[in-house]
C-alpha cells in the first residue's frame, strides 16, 4: 500500500477509468482544454480543494450521514468497505450505504483504495485536517446524549481475585469441566460472593485459565500459586489490564493474543467520553470501532456483554450505554492498604491490599466472603494444604508479616509452627525397595556405590532407596558384583509443567485512545448555506440551455458544485442509470454495462412498488427457454440466484452520480 496519503489519493484518481476521471475533473474544474495531462489536472484540482472557501463550503454541505461515515473513516484510518458497512449496518441498508459512499467519493471527501483484494476507504488528505478538527467526533458516529453517569462500584478487586483463586483451590468440585458452576454449588458460591451473578462464573474461569492462574486437569481446575506470584510482580495497572482483557476476551492469556487483547481492551476502556450515553445499537458499532474485528475477530455480542459484567460500562433504564466513572478509578493505582490478621485467624483483605505476601493467601486461607472487603479464614486444614504445596510455617509467618500492618497474634506463629511440626512427624517417600537374599546382602552392605543410593536399611537384605533411575541402580548393582539383575519396575515421574512467565512490563505510557476521551466541540451546519443561493443566482445569469441548466441544478442538489467557476457550458451529463417498466432494452443495456465493468452493482426493488431494494453483483447473462436470465450474487450475503430479466420492475445501475461504486 502507498504510505504517503497524498500520493495514495492522487494514485486513486489516476486509476479511475478515463471517462470517470474526466467527468470528475470537468465537474470541479469547469472546461478542460486540450492538450490535457492527468497529473496537471490533479494539481489544479488540488489547488482548488486547498482553497479555504472551498473547504468551508464542503463542510457546510455535510449532513448527519456524511458526518457519520467521515468520522468513522477518520477514526479508523484505513478501514475496509465491508467493515465500514458492518459498523453502520444497523443505520443503513447495504444499498443506501453504497450510495452514501459514492456520494462522498464524488464530493472528493473520501476515496477508495484496493489492496490485496480488499477495498479500503480513506479520507482525502487535502481535507483531513479540517475534517478531523471540525467534523469527526464521537457524537458524529454514535447517537449519544449528555448524561450524568453515577459512579458504580466495580466488583473486581485484588481481594476479589485472591478470594476467587482461593475458592477454586478449595472447591474445585464446584465447577463443571467448562468452568460453569454446578447447580448444587451455587448456594455456597453465593455465600462467599454475595451479589455476584452465577452466570459470570464461566467467564471468570475462562479468564483465570487464559492467564494460567488455574489449569484444568482431568476435568478439574487447580490453582497455580507460582503463576499467581509472577502475576503479582506486574505493576498494578498492567495486572488490571490483563485481568480485564482476559475477562472480556478469554483468549487474552494466550501469548499470541495477549497483547492484541490488552490493546483492544485498553481502547475500549479509555476512549469512551465521560458524561455521555450512547444508543444501544450504536454501542455495538463502538465495539467494532475499537478494533475487535481487526485484531481479535471476536463475537461482538459476547464481548459487549462481558464489558458490562466487567463493570466498565453500564446501561441506563432506557438501554443507553455510558461509561462507568468508577472504572477509571479502578484502572488507576491506589495506595495499597495492609491486610488484617486477627487472633481468631480471620484475615481481612481491603479492596487494594498490599501485594507482598498476597500470593500465599489462596492456598493458606479459606475464602469466607468476598464483597467490599474479602474475608478469609485459616484453619488447620488450610494450613496443611499450604504445607502440601511446599509451604512452611516460616513462609506463612513471613507472608503474613508482609501483608499485614499489625504484629501477628502471639499464638498465631506458634500455632502454625506446631501444626507444621505435627505435619512433618509423618513423611511419605516414593522410591524403590530392594530385597536380596542373605547371601548377597554383604555385597550390597559393603558397596559404596550401592550404599550411596540407600536412604535407609529397613532390615538385613532390605533397603529403601530414594527415587533413583533404573540405569543408576543397575550400575550400582553391577559395582556391587550383581550382574544381570531383574528389571526393576518403572516408576512414574511427574512431568513438570511449563510455567508461563508474565513479562514484567516496564512501559508506563498507555496507547493513545481511539478518540479523545473528551468530546470535541462540533457545531453542525444548520440550514442551507448562503453560497448555494449565490450559485443558483449565478446559474440563472448564465442563461444556459435547459438540459444543462437542469443538470447543474441537479448537481447543486447533489452538492457537487462548490464554486461559480464550476459552472461551465462544457459538461458531460452522466448516462442513463435506470430502466423501468417496459423498457426491456434499457434493462438489458444496464445489465451489460454492469457486466462489462468490474464490480459494478445493480439495484432492484424487492417487490414491485416497494422502497426496499436488493443489491446484485451480476455474474452472467444467459438465455434460458427463450428468456434472458441474469445469474447474480445477492449482496452483502453472497447468495447466488437466477433472475428473469423481464420480471424486474425496475433496475438501477448502482453507482454514484459521477463515480461508479467500485471506486
Amino acid at each position: 500500500m502507498v504510505d504517503d496519503p497524498d500520493e495514495a489519493w492522487k494514485s486513486s484518481l489516476l486509476t479511475l477509468p478515463d471517462q470517470v476521471f474526466f467527468t470528475l475533473m470537468r465537474n470541479y474544474l469547469g472546461g478542460i482544454t486540450t492538450p490535457f495531462n492527468k497529473h496537471d489536472l490533479i494539481e489544479k484540482l488540488t489547488v482548488f480543494m486547498r482553497k479555504e472557501t472551498i473547504q468551508e463550503r464542503i463542510i457546510s454541505l455535510l449532513d448527519e450521514k456524511d458526518r457519520l461515515i467521515i468520522s468513522l473513516v477518520c477514526a479508523l484510518d484505513s478501514v475496509s468497505r465491508e467493515n465500514l458497512y458492518r459498523i453502520t449496518a444497523h443505520r443503513f441498508s447495504y444499498g443506501s450505504f453504497l450510495h452514501l459512499l459514492a456520494s462522498l467519493q464524488e464530493r472528493l471527501l473520501l476515496y477508495t483504495w484496493g489492496f490485496q483484494e480488499t477495498l479500503y476507504v480513506r479520507i482525502n488528505p487535502l481535507l483531513k485536517q479540517i475534517l478531523e478538527n471540525r467534523v469527526a467526533g464521537f457524537p458524529s458516529i454514535f447517537r449519544c446524549r449528555t448524561v450524568v453517569t453515577p459512579k458504580s462500584r466495580v466488583p473486581w478487586s485484588e481481594g476479589f481475585i485472591t478470594a476467587l483463586l482461593a475458592y477454586v483451590h478449595w472447591s474445585p468440585q464446584a465447577f463443571e469441566s467448562d468452568g460453569s458452576l454446578k447447580k448444587r454449588a451455587q448456594g455456597s458460591f453465593e455465600t462467599v460472593f454475595p451479589g455476584m451473578p452465577g452466570k459470570t462464573v464461566k467467564t471468570l474461569m475462562e479468564a483465570l485459565l487464559s492467564l494460567h492462574l488455574v489449569y484444568r486437569h482431568n476435568e478439574r481446575f487447580h490453582f497455580r500459586p507460582e503463576v499467581y506470584q509472577d502475576f503479582l510482580l506486574l505493576p498494578e495497572v498492567r495486572r488490571k489490564q490483563l485481568f480485564g482483557a482476559a475477562f472480556v476476551f478469554p483468549g487474552a492469556g494466550n501469548p499470541d493474543e495477549r497483547e492484541a487483547s490488552r490493546r483492544v481492551y485498553h481502547r475500549l476502556t479509555t476512549s469512551f467520553p465521560d458524561k455521555t450515553a450512547v444508543h444501544p445499537e450504536d454501542f455495538k458499532s463502538y465495539l467494532l470501532t475499537c478494533g475487535l474485528f481487526e485484531d481479535l475477530h471476536r463475537d461482538m455480542e459476547e464481548e459487549g456483554k462481558n464489558l458490562f459484567f466487567l463493570g466498565a460500562f453500564q446501561k441506563g433504564k432506557d438501554g443507553w450505554v455510558s461509561f462507568n466513572p468508577g472504572f477509571r478509578e479502578w484502572m488507576g493505582i491506589f495506595d495499597q492498604e495492609a491486610a488484617v490478621f486477627q487472633a481468631n485467624f480471620d484475615l481481612l483483605l481491603p479492596e487494594h491490599p498490599r501485594i507482598q505476601g498476597l500470593a500465599f493467601v489462596p492456598v493458606l486461607f479459606h475464602p469466607v466472603r468476598c464483597d467490599r472487603a474479602a474475608e478469609f479464614r485459616l484453619d488447620q486444614d488450610s494450613f496443611v494444604s499450604f504445607l502440601d504445596h511446599g509451604g512452611t510455617a516460616e513462609k506463612a509467618v513471613a507472608a503474613l508479616s508482609e501483608l499485614t500492618a499489625h504484629p501477628l497474634p502471639p499464638h498465631g506463629a506458634t500455632t502454625l509452627r506446631l501444626w507444621e511440626e505435627k505435619y512433618r512427624s509423618l513423611s511419605f517417600y516414593s522410591g524403590r525397595i530392594v530385597r536380596v537374599t542373605t547371601d548377597l546382602a554383604p555385597f550390597l552392605d559393603h558397596s559404596p556405590a550401592f550404599q550411596a543410593l540407600v536412604r535407609e536399611t529397613l532390615a538385613p537384605g532390605l533397603y529403601f532407596l530414594g527415587e533413583v533411575s533404573e540405569e543408576s541402580l543397575r550400575e550400582a548393582l553391577k559395582a556391587a558384583g550383581i550382574h544381570h539383575p531383574p528389571a526393576p519396575p518403572s516408576t512414574v515421574t511427574l512431568s513438570s509443567r511449563q510455567m508461563p512467565v508474565f513479562q514484567v512490563d516496564t512501559s508506563s505510557s498507555p496507547e493513545n485512545p481511539l478518540f479523545e476521551a473528551a468530546c470535541p466541540e462540533i457545531v453542525p451546519s444548520r440550514g442551507r448555506p448562503p453560497f448555494l443561493e449565490d450559485l443558483k443566482h449565478s446559474l440563472q445569469e448564465k442563461k444556459l440551455l435547459q438540459p444543462l441548466h437542469k443538470e447543474y441544478l441537479h448537481r447543486i442538489k447533489r452538492r457537487l458544485i462548490l464554486d461559480e467557476s464550476q459552472l461551465s457550458r462544457d459538461l458531460d451529463a452522466p448516462g442513463q442509470k435506470e430502466a423501468r417498466g417496459l423498457d426491456f432494452p434499457g434493462k438489458l443495456r444496464l445489465i451489460q454495462e454492469a457486466l462489462n465493468r468490474t464490480n459494478t452493482l445493480l439495484e432492484i426493488p424487492l417487490e414491485a412498488g416497494s422502497e426496499e431494494t436488493m443489491i446484485l453483483q451480476p455474474l452472467t447473462l444467459k438465455k434460458q427457454d427463450n428468456e434472458e436470465v441474469l445469474l447474480a450474487l445477492i449482496l452483502p450475503e453472497g447468495e447466488e440466484r437466477e433472475f428473469p430479466v423481464k420480471r424486474f420492475p425496475r433496475i438501477r445501475l448502482l453507482s454514484g452520480y459521477l463515480v461508479p461504486l467500485n471506486g
Binding site: 462500584r153 455465600t191 454475595p194 451479589g195 491506589f334 488484617v340 486477627q342 487472633a343 481468631n344 485467624f345 480471620d346 481481612l348 479492596e351 466472603r369 464483597d371 467490599r372 472487603a373 474475608e375 488447620q380 499489625h406 497474634p409 502471639p410 499464638h411 506458634t414 500455632t415 506446631l418 505435627k422 512427624s425
Partner: protein, 564 residues
Amino acid sequence: MKNTPLIVQSDGSLLLDVHAEGFEEARADISPFAELEKSPEHIHTYRITSLSLWNASSAGITGEKVLHTLEEWSRYEVPDNISFLVKETMARFGVVTLVPGEKAGVFQLKVAEAAVRKELEHNRKLTAYLTPEGDGYTLPLIHRGTVKQLLLEAGYPADDRIPLTTGDPLSFSLREETLQGEAFSLRDYQEDAVRAFIGGGRPGTGYGVLVLPCGAGKTLVGMKVMEQLSTHTLILATNVTAVHQWIDELLSRTTLKEEEIGEYTGSKKEIRPVTIATYQVLTWRPDREGDFPHFKIFSERNWGLIIYDEVHLLPAPVFRITAEIQGIHRLGLTATLIREDGKEGDVFSLVGPKRFDVPWKELESKGWIAEAYCREIRVSLPEKLKIAYALADKRGKFRLASENPLKNLIAKHIIANRREDSILVIGQYLDQLKSIAQELKAPLITGSTPNARREEIYSQFRRGKVPVLVVSKVANYSIDLPDASVAIQISGTFGSRQEEAQRLGRILRPKEKNSWFYSLTTRFSEEEHYAMKRQQFLTEQGYKYHIDVWEDSEDLEEPAENRF
C-alpha cells in the same frame, strides 16, 4: 473511598475497624440495629438481620435513620441490596399490631394490609391461637408469647403495644456503700445498659437481654433495673450458690430487708417480694411425663419483673412458661450468649432482644475488668499411656488426654511460680480433681459438696486463708471470687466455648494485679483439637493466647519450693 471505619458487606455483615477514626461513634450508632458477632483485636463484626432491624423498629428507629447511619460511616458505597433489605424489612414492622382488647385478658391483633391478612389466614399454626374478629383477630393473654413467636417466624413481627404490667409495687433504692462500708456506684456502661433496657418505658421496651463480660457487674445492673421498676421481682439463677450470692448482694447494696427477700430452692420455698429461685428447682418434676409443680411460682405473686441470670442457660421447659408471661418485664443477663443447642433465637424472641452488648476488651481497656493473659501449655502424653490412647475410642482418647497425669506436675510448677496469687484449678473429671487436690493439699469443691461447706471454703478463699482451690464445673458460673487472679484449667467439656469464657470470667473481677488463665492440653491428642474450638470465643473477644510447649514433660521434676 472514605476514611471511615465501617465496611458494609452485601450479606448484611458490618466490619468495624477499631483503629479507624470515628470507631467509637460508629459503634454507638450501629449498635441499636446491628448484632455484635465478634470483636477480635482489629476488626469487629456486626450483622444486620431481620430480627435486629425489627428490634430497632420497636425501639423507634426508622429505616431512614439506619440507612443514613450506614451511609455516614461506610467506607465504600452501601450495597443496593442492603438498602433494599433495610427498607423492606423495617417496613414489615407495624403491619401487625397487638393492642389491648375490650375484655381483660384478651388482646386484639390488627393487620394493616389485606394481603398480609390473607397470608396469615393460611398459616394454620398461627390461626390455631387466634379468633377472627372484624379485620383482625383476638387472642387470650396466655398465647401472647406463642403468637408473637409465630408471627416472627412468618416474617411479620408484631408491634406489641400492650403495656407491660407493672406488678405489685416494691420501693427500695441502691445504697451508696455496701454494708461492709465499700463505696460503689454504677459505671457508665452499666448506666447505659440499664437505660437500654428500660428504654423510657415506651411500648417495645422493658424486656430483653443485656450481655456484659464476666466480672462487669451484671448483678448490679440487675439491681438497678429492679430499683427503677420498683416492683415485685422474681430472679432465676443457675444454682444455690448463685442464689445466695444474689441475696448477699441485695442485702449489701440495697435498702431491701431480709424479710423482703426469699429463697426458692431445694431446701427452702420462700416466696417474697423479691424471690430468687434456681432453674433446677423450677424444672424439677416427679416423673418424666408429669407437670412441673414449681411453675406455680410464676403465678404466686403479681410479679412486675423477672430476671433470668445467665440466661444462656435457660432450660428448654422454662421457655414455655416464658412464652406465657409476656406481659411482664423480662431481663436476661449473660456474658456469653452462646447456646450449644442453638436456641439463641428463642431467647431473643421470648425473653427479648439483645439490648446491650460491649466488647470485653473495651471494658478491660477502661479498667472495669481485669486485664487477663491467656496461656496454653501443651504437654506430652506419658509413654506408658500411649498404647492405651491408641486403642481407645474417640471419647476415651479425649478423657485420657484430659486426665494426663503430667498436667498435675505442670500445675504445680505454675503454682510454685505464682506465690502471691490466689489460684483456682478447674477441671471436668472428678478423679483427676481429687488427685490434684490431694497433691496440692487444696480443698476440692464439687457438685456433691454441701452448700454450707462450699460457702465456708469460698469464704476462706476470699479471705486468703486458702490460696488454692480446686473446683469442678459447678464453679463455672456465678461464683463471686474477687481475689482469684489465676485460673488453671486442667480439663474441659470438649469444645465448649461458653465454658472457656465462663471460666476466664472467674478471674476477671477488677483487682490491682493482672489475671492469668492457663489451659493445659495434651499434645497430639483429641484434646488439642478441641482446645482451639474452645478458645475461639475468647479470640473473638480479642484475647490472645500464648502457646508454650513443655518438651520432655516426663523428665520434669517436682518444683523445688512447694508451697504445700
